[in-house]
Every structure is written in structure tokens, then in C-alpha cells.
Amino acid sequence: MNGLEDLYREIILDHYRSPRNRGELESPPAQRVEGFNPLCGDEVVVYVQVDGDRVTDIRIAGQGCSISQSSASLMSAAVKGKTVAEARDLIRTFKAMMQVHEASLEGDGGEAEAVDPEALGELAALQGVVKFPVRIKCATLSWNTLTQGLDEAEAG
């Protein structure tokens, strides 16, 4: 099962089996945004509570595969309590990790390490996903949904 260990790291399976911040928030005041992966029918619902410039609470609902669910869980743990600007930075870094690797897969060189794994903490566990290009959409689903939620929160 060579290669699968890169995809299904222990942290990922742990977040899949025991997802963090699972549930709902009352909306309003929280923003409720749905994300959809038409490829596999995965659905994620992100509830994000922004107070002032801070993400004070976040909950994840919906259903999906281990990658989309664990990514959402890891994301929720990573952004909770952060400022909106920090959360956006993290989204950018995470998506860069997905893209950098996607690009480097096409060349025959090794993996370009443009993203500092330190900045990602546990999220770095999702790095292996990029070796499985069709699954990248699963990993980024909740992040795109969160971006939309933050946009809507800031738009008032």
C-alpha cells in the first residue's frame, strides 16, 4: 500500500474519526456557508462567528470523505481564535501548499518546498494529498467555503 501512508497519515485519520468543532452555530449571528464538491457529492457546511477582527468560533457540518472531513476539522482547530487577517494568511499558505505541489508534480524535479511547514503545524499532514491530484479538491473544499464565510462576515 505504498503511497497511501502519505495520504492517510495518522493525524488525518484521527481528525476523520474524531472531528473537532463538529456541529452548528446559530445563524445569524454566525455566517453559515455551504461548500459542494460536485465530483463526489461531498458537502461541507462552515459556521463561522466573527467578532470584531477575530474568528471567535467555528463549527463544521456536512458529510464527506476522510480528506475533506479531516481537512475541515484541522482547519477549524487552526483558525479558531485567530484574527481574520491571520486566518486569511493561513488559507493562503494552505492553498499554496496544494498548488506548489501540484505544479512540482508536473515537472520531474523533487517537491518544491516554498511553503514553510512550520507555519502550517498539523496541517502539514495534508501535504501528501497533492500526490493524489483528484483529491486536492476534497482537501481545499472547506477552505474555500471558509473564505466565502469570512468575505460575507466582513461585508456585514
Partner: protein
């Protein structure tokens, strides 16, 4: 019930398929992925090609290619002959009474349904007219009708799927009242259910409705006879029956095709064009605007001849046996952990096995199986209303064809066991 299954139509002693002898005909199957033997279990999405098909297409390109219907030189005449030969082969394969006029080449089954909806539908269906669909349809046989519903105010009714994964025929008589068209799959691409199409057609005809059969899954796997089925329209795709992509078929009764307005306009489909109008060509070319997929038609012709040489009753018998083996192997190894969304047994069902496996998401399942070289499809299989009816977002679907054998099923079972270890 007049189901066209082999149990009723085939002679008692059918020589079984020799899959080991037949596998080498399919070059693509002879490879490894991730260091494991390729086990292709996704033929319901698209099937693989025997050498005979690849060679027919190569030969066409190497010796014959020219545009059809326009040239007087030998090469063009030969292209024309091959293209029309393919039409005759396909017509014979489905029992068409008049292949040379009733078999229309399209891009795929989807385009064929769209042709019927846009041409027959726009002419005959107006505000308040009713089309009866079923809950197990593929989007190809849903969205064109939803589009007509939006455009022309056509009403859609739905024949339900019972807990036995078969159509709720008890409701049919009532639902069919006042209906103009019943558009129904002959075999479900998710459940494997073979619908009693001839019976449905008889009820529909008594109520004054026409019937369209979505044969995308049935034509590749079952003996097909449009007259015995009572079809008015039949659609299917070449790429699910050993043929290439880019070619599909609409068969319809000649009277219907004759009075239907053209679908796409352009070269080939006209008799005359003036500044103020045009007249249409004869059948079947009236519905084949522009340069058709000639090599693909040639490939499809070779595919149906390959299937005919084997015999569709033997293909069906093989799949019945292998489906039973798979049902037994899955239940035997995994018990309650595995759910097969489809009829029990093999009566009135084909070799499509849509699975739920414990709590493992179908997408993850397909990924783990891939590492063992086992190709299955995970997703909604373009049948979202049916998925809602089943109460799931997705299934992992293994589908069988004539080149699959017990070893392939064993590989599936072993790979599922690995998924169980990883996620269990």
C-alpha cells in the same frame, strides 16, 4: 413479465465464456498499476476495447479516410460504405426492422436523449403535457426533460423505486394516465436493476404514451430487440459496449423520425438550401448534421460484431454467474459490513454492484482500491435523485463485463479487506 433476460430467451445449455481466452483481446487489461495487476471494474462508466475495434479504426485511418456522402472518388466511396455498414451492424444488433433509415448516429446516449427532447419534445410537448420519468434515471435522461419543463411548462411525473431497488410498478397504471412520453432506463447504472421494459411499454401504449428506453447500460449487457421491448425510442452509447467514445445511437420508429423536425442544422442534413429556407435530407441523414464521427462508427460496428460473435446471451449468462459469485464473496467475507444497493440475486439485475462499506467513504474506498490496481467508481454516478432516494451522497460502484472473471472479484474483495484494515 416480458423481461428480456437470458433466463427466458436462451437455450438451456449455453457454452460458458472462456474469459482467459478472451482477455488477451483487450490490450489495456495487460498492465500493472501501482505494481499490481490492473483489475478493471468500471465498465458501466466506460468499457475497454478489443483489438478488433482498435484495428478496424486504425485500418480505416490508414487506408480509407475521406469525408462521407460527398465524394465520388474510390476512397470516399469506401468511407461511405464502411460508415453505412456500421449502421447496418448496429441496427441488426438491436433488432431494428429498418436499420438503414432508423439508426441515427449521435455523439453519445446523452445527445440522443437531447435530440428526442429538442425535436420530438418541442414539437409535441406543450404547457401541461406530462412526461413520466423514474427515480432511477441517469441525469442524461433527466436534465433534457427538466429543460423542457422549464422552457415549455411540461409537467414531470416520477415512478418511484421500491425498497427492493425495483420500480414501483403498482403505481404505473395511475401515473401513466394522460402521459405523452414515458422515458425510462432499461437498466440502472447504479442499482443494476433491469426494468421490465416491455411491460412498461405495453401499459404506456395502452394509455396513449410513447416510450423511450435509455439503453446505455442494457444494450452493452443484454440481448436487445427493440420490437420485443416495444420501444418507440432507444438511446445508447458506443463507449460502454466495447466501442470508442464520440459515437452514440438513437434508434426510433421510422414514422416518428419522419415527422420530427431536424435537431442540429448544417451540411449533410439538407436536401436544398435557398436564401429563404431549406428542405431536409432523407433519413437517417436528416439528423446527422456536419461531418459525423466516421472512424468511431467503424469502431462501433466492429464492437457489435465482436459481441455478436460471442453472443449476447452468453455475455449475459457470464455476468449473471459472476454477479452471483461477487454477491456471495462480498457477503461471505464482510457480512453486514457491506451493503449492495441493488436487487438481491441475479433475476432482473445486471453486474453493477454499488457498495457501501462500513463507515468508509466511497471516495476513500476507491482510493485504497486503486492502490491494489482495482478500478471502481465513487460518486453519485450522475443519478442524484436516486442517491437522495437511497439516502447517500455517493456509493463505490464495481461493474462487471465480459472480460472480468472470478479472479477480478477476488481482487476486489482482498482490496476491500485492506481498506477495512486501514479505516476499520
Amino acid at each position: 413479465m416480458a423481461e428480456l433476460t437470458v433466463e427466458e430467451t436462451a437455450p438451456a445449455a449455453l457454452a460458458p465464456l472462456d474469459v482467459a481466452a478472451l482477455k488477451p483481446d483487450f490490450p489495456v487489461l495487460n498492465q500493472e498499476v501501482h505494481g499490481r495487476r490492473l483489475v478493471y471494474l468500471d465498465s458501466a462508466a466506460s468499457s475497454q476495447h478489443p483489438r478488433a475495434v482498435l484495428e478496424a479504426m486504425d485500418r480505416y485511418y490508414e487506408t480509407t479516410h475521406a469525408n462521407v456522402h460527398r465524394g465520388v472518388y474510390a476512397l470516399a466511396e469506401e468511407a461511405d460504405r464502411l460508415y453505412e455498414d456500421a449502421r447496418r451492424s448496429v441496427g441488426r444488433f438491436i433488432g431494428a426492422p429498418d436499420p438503414t433509415t432508423e439508426v441515427i448516429f449521435t455523439k453519445n446516449a446523452t445527445e440522443s436523449v437531447n435530440l428526442v427532447a429538442a425535436s420530438w419534445g418541442r414539437k409535441h410537448l406543450h404547457e401541461g403535457d406530462v412526461v413520466l420519468l423514474t427515480e432511477m434515471e441517469h441525469h442524461a435522461n433527466l436534465v433534457p426533460w427538466l429543460m423542457l419543463a422549464e422552457e415549455q411548462g411540461v409537467e414531470l411525473r416520477w415512478l418511484g423505486v421500491g425498497d427492493d431497488y425495483r420500480l414501483d410498478l403498482a403505481e404505473l397504471e395511475e401515473l401513466v394516465t394522460g402521459v405523452k412520453l414515458v422515458a425510462c432506463s432499461a437498466m440502472s447504472n447504479v442499482l443494476g436493476t433491469i426494468t421490465p421494459f416491455a411491460e412498461i411499454a405495453a401499459v404506456a401504449h395502452r394509455a396513449g404514451a410513447l416510450v423511450l428506453a435509455d439503453g446505455a447500460q442494457s444494450v452493452p449487457h443484454l440481448p436487445t430487440d427493440v420490437q420485443a421491448m416495444g420501444c418507440d425510442f432507444l438511446v445508447f452509447s458506443g463507449h460502454k459496449m466495447l466501442g470508442p467514445t464520440g459515437i452514440g445511437v438513437l434508434w426510433a420508429r421510422r414514422e416518428l423520425l419522419e415527422e420530427m423536425p431536424p435537431f442540429l442544422g448544417g451540411g449533410g442534413m439538407i436536401r436544398d438550401v435557398r436564401r429563404d429556407g431549406f428542405t431536409t435530407n432523407e433519413l437517417p441523414w436528416k439528423f446527422e448534421a456536419g461531418t459525423p464521427p466516421i472512424a468511431e462508427a467503424v469502431g462501433l460496428g466492429a464492437a457489435v460484431r465482436y459481441l455478436e460473435a460471442i453472443g449476447m446471451d452468453r455475455v449475459r449468462a457470464h455476468e449473471v454467474e459472476l454477479t452471483a459469485y461477487a454477491q456471495g464473496a462480498l457477503a461471505g467475507r464482510f457480512g453486514e459490513k457491506v451493503t449492495i444497493f441493488g436487487p438481491e440475486g441475479t433475476d432482473g439485475r445486471g453486474g453493477v454492484l454499488s457498495l457501501a462499506f462500513g463507515d468508509v467513504h466511497p471516495h476513500d474506498l476507491a482510493q485504497v482500491l486503486d492502490q491494489s490496481g482495482v478500478c471502481v467508481r465513487a460518486g453519485h454516478h450522475c443519478a442524484k435523485p436516486l442517491m437522495r432516494r437511497l439516502g447517500v451522497n455517493a456509493t463505490a460502484r464495481a461493474s462487471l463485463y465480459l472480460y472480468n472473471d472470478e479472479e477480478d472479484v477476488d481482487a476486489l474483495v482482498d482490496a476491500l479487506a485492506e481498506a477495512d484494515t486501514l479505516f476499520g
